[in-house]
């Protein structure tokens, strides 16, 4: 029982108290219901993986966005997590492709650039004919610094580097911005360092 509570408490957004509540709830639930949940988790975890190209969640080697021929390959939007792809897709304003870094630079948590999908990003530029990279990282300290790091790498390669227009709530996550605000920030993007 304690092992279950400990595991639950490690989930994002679940504190020790909520973990205890969920655990008690599961113990009181129907055995079949619990089986359904554990099966669903296992199946999803077993079948979903990262896209080999953009590192978005995918059930196949390449995700549906990378295989969609109608998407513009010359514009690449760099985000921290798959959930940011979901947020940006909801705006309906972006028709290019994505690249998911799987995190942001965060020395306090031991995450350096070498732990992110940075090398993989650089390797995509030439073969895919990328002309513009939009840095679409979370509007917080770590997101800003990751964007600065990437801009320093990308600019000398002759690719246009842009970032979202101001107006997103500072200190938060991209996913908390509403679609209209995010869409507007995307349309009003400007070149880094201009």
């Amino acid at each position: 029982m304690q092992a279950m509570i400990d595991s639950l408490a490690r989930l994002p957004g679940v504190g020790p108290k909520s973990a205890q509540r969920i655990a008690f709830h599961l113990l009181k639930s129907d055995v079949e219901e619990v089986k359904k949940l554990t099966n669903a988790i296992q199946e999803a975890r077993g079948s979903v993986r990262f896209c080999d190209r953009c590192f978005n969640f995918s059930e196949t080697t390449y995700c549906h966005l990378c295989t969609d021929e109608r998407r513009d390959t010359s514009v690449l939007c760099v985000v921290e997590e798959s959930r940011d792809v979901v947020a940006l897709e909801k705006t309906g304003q972006f028709r290019g492709r994505y690249h998911v870094l799987l995190g942001a630079i965060n020395p306090l948590e031991g995450t350096g650039p070498e732990h992110l999908k940075v090398r993989e990003l650089l390797l995509r530029l030439e073969p895919e004919g990328v002309q513009e990279v939009i840095l679409c990282l979370n509007p917080n300290t770590e997101g800003d610094v990751t964007a600065m790091y990437l801009a320093r790498l990308l600019k000398p390669l002759g690719v246009k580097v842009t970032q979202l227009a101001m107006g997103l709530p500072v200190g938060g996550d991209l996913e908390y911005a509403d679609e209209v605000t995010l869409g507007r920030a995307l349309m009003g993007r400007r070149e880094v360092g201009e």
Binding site: P107, G112, T141, E142, V145, R152
Partner: protein, 369 residues
Amino acid sequence: MIVRSLQLTDFRNYSTLHLALGSGVHALTGDNAQGKTNLVEALVVLSTMKSFRGVANDAVVRKDAASAFLRADIVHDDLREFLVEIELKSAGRSVAQVNRKRVTRTRDLLSVLRTTVFTPDDRNLVHGAASLRRSLLDDAVVSLDPARQDTINELERVLRQRNALLKESGYRPSASTFDALDAWDEKLAAVGDEVGRARAELIQELLPLAQSSYRALVGDECSLLLAYDAPWREAGLACALRESREDDLRRGSSTVGPHRDDMVVSLDDFASRTQGSHGEQHSLGLALRMAVHHLVSQRWGTPPLVVLDDVLSALDNKRASALFERLLSALPYRQVLVTSAHPLPASPRITHWLEVVAGTISSCTQDEQ
């Protein structure tokens, strides 16, 4: 701006307190450890969401209680009314509400309630560590423009991250560490320059007010000067960081920047930190806080709530009485709270007499105290 009533539940040694306050000067007397400073602390929490004692929530929640509740009824000069409510949970996040609407930023509370708290520690302001003077400046910057809280917080965050990177990279940093450090330096330079500019502007504005405040306290003419000591500002932080990089890597921490700055206080060309007498240093400490109070009063068009917490206790009757009169005649105020373990000087300024005994507060007359 006036706090009309204050309610505390399970906060420090108060199980329940309901205190009505008015405009004017409130004298709050009682023996030590009865709850005088706890009351002051509650007011500061209501204004900034955090304790000036710098402690975690479980230290302020009364023993065996899960949460402490603080509530203040505030009326502004334009007659707008505000209800500020804060729940401090001994485990978990605190919750703050203004007029029943959840708020998450200090700025939302600061625009409702501002306080100026004088404490016995003010005597260390001049001769103590530079961090005390940086806090005075940064707190003032935020009181004057609450949006700057984000900048001050970000500076702290950037420094913690940069120091973590410096520490882990050790003696043989990799190429990617250098690249990451470039990015952190770019960020630190941007945030640091902003903090430096805000402090420099503030000191300019504080100077004439500190001079007049000091004159009001000690009575005689002397040339009080304030100077911002931030050597990196000459060439800018980006440049200073480039120059100090080797040093920073060797030491595993950030050796230049706003977190190392100081404000030099001097009197008649002598640095007061090292050469001033105790009495001078104390008066200067008070004058600095008075200057901030003046500036905040001007900026918002109304004076913050003034608290003199135990400031008079160390003085004999005559000097306590003189300091009390000088402070209150030099400060703009609408509401004042004076706490003391000793009887306070009989002053016609005092409009309310209160006595605290073991976490309960009652009205009393001047003779009873």
